[in-house]
Amino acid sequence: MSAGGTARPPAGLRPVAVNLLGVVEQPELGGTPYRVDCDGRPYVPAGDGGIVLGLRLGESVFARDADHAAPGACLVHPDQAARHALAAYSCIGNLAVVRTGRAAGARGAVLGKRGEEGRVIAAFAQEDLARLRPADQVAVRACGQGWRPPGFPPDVAVLNLDPAVLTALPVAPRGGGTVRAGVRMIVPSKLSGNGVGRPSASWDLDLQIRAGLGAPDLLLGDLVAVSGLDARYNMGYRNGWLTVGLVMHGASPLPGHGPGITPILTGPANALLAEPDEAGHTGLTEAALQRLSAAEVEVQ
């Protein structure tokens, strides 16, 4: 295997947290409202970015007639470089606090991120989301990139995770230098869509799966494994490798797109073990996110 070593910080280094500014996004469209779905039908995309109300963790990714809809508010930054940094450094479980507007003071947590120009998805209680407005400012306490959980084998890379969130996920080290992750399903790498060839620290990976093709249902907040995919740096095909991600946005009618995962674990398939449970899997829940966002932040 050519994948010798991981060019990541050595174990034992303390992660640092940085306060970043996110701005609640207003969705943008071009001069024509239409996109074209995989069967050639034009549609008007609803739910692609900005604040989406009523969508909850635990709902099917196929439950809405929407495009890339995420359960919460998308955060961006008016400066593109700062926007990339917001996406790259924010991690699942990071505390997000609203600083301005009618929802000022509301606490939420980062649920994931999306690529291209960069977006961070922050989950809030529905009553707080309803008071949010595009251009409201949200502080994100970004922490997690470079963190190595104790007890993890060196060849399993951990990314995009707040150190506090791991206990809320069905992920744990096991004996023999392995890590086990409970997942809803394992999908082959050929179903990887938009996000392949892009950096896993700041992009999500769309899965090209559709409702009603015999596949099990997939819920927002689920963990999913992709076999044959290495996501340590850019995401790409590698035989004998596995990547686990958290589902944080819903399906899309666009060809090459679909429900998206933020990668959290990647390693050789003999060190990172995915245990699929189509009926009983539980990933990240709203209750777990609420506990994270309510917790007092340790002052370092």
Binding site: M1, S2, A3, G4, G5, T6, A7, V36, D37, C38, D39, G40, P188, S189, K190, L191, S192, G193, N194, G195, V196, G197, R198, P199, D206, Q208, G228, D230, R232, Y233, N234, M235, G236, Y237, R238, N239, G240, W241, L254, P255, G256, H257
Partner: protein, 301 residues
């Protein structure tokens, strides 16, 4: 291909482009499959010494764009140039020592990629103005309504071997068939722009990265399995996309030699013939004379 098409109904548009410089940032390095940092040329500017028929991989290069990489300075005009230009279209150099010389489009890669004869290419540099005679978008095959044609000039279509078979299928000659696992960056993008990077062609790297595609050549016509490129680029069992390899060697992970899409439709609409000569060099390379006539049409075998 001897086919009934609407080619006579298509119009040509004269589009201006400019040979665009290679771009970098102050951090210089990008990251390979195993985390190896690299600084390698190949994208943008004028890349010399690699033409249709030459190996796509095996170079110390990243996102190798053979020949001249062409854009327009204005965003909207650039998208028109990228969307409307088709493989096989004629390109004329308008400035610099090679002014007046003709070449042809071999694909798209967020740039229009233009192959010129080596002596012409030697005189082309960043900032040179070129003119593309764009024709081909909207091309449709009356006998093959399930097949979508795009980015394909009528002249190149006429020069390619194949055509309607007795069983009604569209016979297409390809140099290689590509498994769906190879589809990398470019999935989810529109299929009139850029191309589909193919993974599994990292010459010289580990066996766990290989999908057996290291032998691809620039200009090869290939079939992408389980791919539907009619309305963008997506995975779809039972569909096929036919493209031409317009870019070469990559070290950036998740990237690789890429086909620009030419045809797409249900797999059973095609009769795919494996043919090592299925390469643009077989049909276009004789067209280096400055007659201005369509090289594809002039050099049909």
């Amino acid at each position: 291909m001897n086919l009934t098409s609407n080619a006579a109904r298509l119009v040509s548009q004269v589009l201006a482009g400019e040979v665009w410089p290679a771009l970098a940032d102050r951090h210089a390095y990008r990251v390979g499959p195993d985390g190896q940092p690299f600084v390698l040329p190949g994208m943008g500017g004028v890349t010399l010494g690699v033409h249709c028929g030459d190996p796509a991989t095996g170079y110390a290069s990243d996102h190798l764009e053979p020949g001249a990489s062409v854009r327009h300075r204005e965003a909207g005009a650039n998208m028109a140039l990228q969307f409307l230009t088709c493989v096989g279209n004629t390109v004329r150099v308008e400035s610099g020592p090679s002014a007046g010389a003709l070449g042809h489009v071999i694909g798209q890669h967020a740039y229009v990629l233009v192959d010129f004869a080596p002596d012409v290419m030697a005189g082309v540099s960043t900032g040179d103005q070129v003119t593309v005679t764009a024709c081909g978008q909207g091309l449709a095959l009356a006998e093959h309504p399930a097949v979508t044609v795009k980015n394909l000039s009528p002249g190149l279509l006429a020069a390619m071997p194949g055509g309607t078979r007795a069983d009604g299928r569209l016979e297409v000659h390809v140099a290689a068939t590509v498994p769906a696992e190879a589809v990398g960056a470019g999935a989810g993008m529109v299929s009139e722009y850029a191309n589909t990077d193919l993974m599994g062609a990292y010459a010289g790297l580990g066996a766990d990265l290989s999908l057996g595609l290291e032998g691809l050549r620039i200009g090869d016509v290939v079939a992408l399995e389980e791919s539907d490129h009619r309305y963008g680029r997506g995975h779809r069992p039972g569909y096929l996309a036919i493209g031409v390899i317009s870019t070469g060697q990559c070290l950036l992970f998740g990237h690789g030699p890429g086909p620009s899409t030419l045809l797409s439709g249900p797999a059973d609409a095609f009769g795919v013939v494996t043919d090592p000569d299925a390469n643009l060099a077989s049909w276009l390379h004789g067209g280096w004379d400055a007659s201005g006539s369509h090289p594809g049409r002039e050099n049909a075998r």
